[in-house]
Symmetry: C2
Subunit: 169 residues, 2 copies
């Protein structure tokens, strides 16, 4: 798939066949996450791959936008290491770029994926910290839920010329 076509046509996918993605597809997605840019090249990300059925079921109970997680079968929680990047704004930016790389890679592989937000929703941060046994310096930022999609979604053009400004507001 062409990179610009992929960026323009990616949609959030929330309906899955139940068939797991392959280990090779998972590896490609993780590698894409690592290739994101980061402030001062700190690379402050950590990736937690979730496939344990009990954990997925548990997440479904406390994350109201992750109801599809069991059908998808695979989730990747992307965390930021506050010891590597002390500025939370940069930490969120770096990990979010990693997540976007992973979503685009899933699309390029013909998979479906959706970004479920975690930070800065305090109850979600607390719940993920607890069930993943995260150390104090590791902040869960977002979760990519990925699987084989039932069908494609139509392209949504979000272009809005009112949001483009030249040389000042």
């Amino acid at each position: 798939m062409d990179i610009i076509e992929g960026i323009m046509t990616r949609r959030s996918i929330r309906h899955f066949t139940g068939e797991l993605i392959s280990d090779e597809q998972l590896d490609t997605m993780l590698r894409a996450g690592f290739q994101a840019p980061s402030a001062h090249n700190c690379q402050p990300w950590e990736f937690i791959v979730l496939r344990d059925k009990e954990k997925l079921k548990h997440i479904k109970e406390f994350h109201k936008y992750a109801k599809m997680i069991e059908d998808a079968g695979t989730a990747i929680v992307v965390c930021g290491d506050k010891n590597r990047q002390e500025r939370i704004g940069f930490l969120v930016s770096d990990t979010s770029a990693a997540i976007q790389n992973m979503l685009l890679t899933a699309h390029g592989l013909g998979l479906g994926a959706v970004w479920c937000g975690i930070y800065d929703q305090p109850s979600l941060v607390d719940n993920f910290t607890e069930i993943l046994n995260l150390p104090e310096n590791i902040l869960p930022i977002g979760m990519v839920v990925v699987g084989n999609k039932i069908k494609d979604r139509s392209i949504q053009d979000r272009y809005d010329e009112n949001k483009i400004h030249y040389d000042a507001w």
Copy 2:
């Protein structure tokens, strides 16, 4: 360019020929920014295209990592609208995904680009707010500097298996 190849080979580019990118290339990059996912589909981004030579020169004076901005000739400051997304964490995530889409698009177009961080460095936020005349609800998050690159950079493989965890930390 293939989407996965593009994600794996993109590098930050800081050396430019001085020739401006075309209006069509700029338009493609902006359209890519709009196609990012956002929490609850709020689409809280705003894009400020900078080409005014005086403004670029001014930015160079206060942003120590933007010394290449005059050679590049074009910068896009990506801002978040706090009235559309009240959670700063989500606002930073959404706008960062838009920035990553734009960086990848520049790479796909054969251009060079680099992400210069703004939020959450208070002095940079204040300086951009002032020179761009931003209203109170508009937060500058990051700036994409883009131009025609002098040469490609070699691929950097950032993969680190120590940063991958399975089912828990």
